[in-house]
Symmetry: C2
Subunit: 141 residues, 2 copies
Amino acid sequence: MNSADRPLEDLPGFMLRRAANDAMGALADRLTAIDLRISDSTLLILLDQHDALTAADIGRKLDIKRANMVPLLNRLEDAGLVARRPVDGRSQAIELTKDGRKKLSEANAIVHAFEADLLERVPPEHREHLLPALRAISGID
Amino acid sequence: MNSADRPLEDLPGFMLRRAANDAMGALADRLTAIDLRISDSTLLILLDQHDALTAADIGRKLDIKRANMVPLLNRLEDAGLVARRPVDGRSQAIELTKDGRKKLSEANAIVHAFEADLLERVPPEHREHLLPALRAISGID
DNA sequence: TATTGTTATACTCTATAACTATA
DNA sequence: TATAGTTATAGAGTATAACAATA
């Protein structure tokens, strides 16, 4: 036992991992009600907020490798939620279908309720600092 | 495009996932220098801070299912870093070996440097709020 | 009866290498 | 030459079910 070292609960990195795992586990559970995974819902929300994204665009924005976009898009296309539309000889735009927009509205309801519940858990005095801190860690702004 | 919805970067849950993924990817990269995974280093640090933990104890503290403790402990035992010692007919204490304590000190150096760098990225006015917010999300205190 | 350690298994996410076709 | 989409594959984390032995 080395008392000079801080317990794991005092390490921001460890707690970041634990908080993310707990929170994402809870979100994944809620999303099973509409047969979506977290990455599915994220992709639908992203498509709703940007026009004319290609598969490679999505991969870059969501930190998903090109190779891993394929099964993800196959699954969403098989479910009838998105469609691939060639924009030139090698790129394809990914677009929400009518069913996709319907599923998106269900996903938005679940995700936003989840986000509200998540913030609710954070004591008010720390609440406004969470997003800026997380953005800084991710290298955004 | 639904402008009523906030972009993904404004959702704490999404940014929590992204920050954790980015940070843990960076930590995992650093730990490859001493041939450890994140879960390995976490287990070594935990063993250093508590006496006489059984495999089931560790699983509960680190949120690792009993079944998944087996390959983890096998790997660390094969590497000579921990030893299993039966404490009764069904439980076994997990103990750091001499090599394990040496590896632990290397892991502590890497982990604490990483934690310092992580906090450094967070603007000072948000820094002290990060840990309490993450603890609250994880359901600690 | 509940718990421990274990085996087997499966699913998700992620990562790399290699290939074809196109800009 | 660089990029896009694809295939195949492997690693890592995680989940459940079932079993024997023990508390």
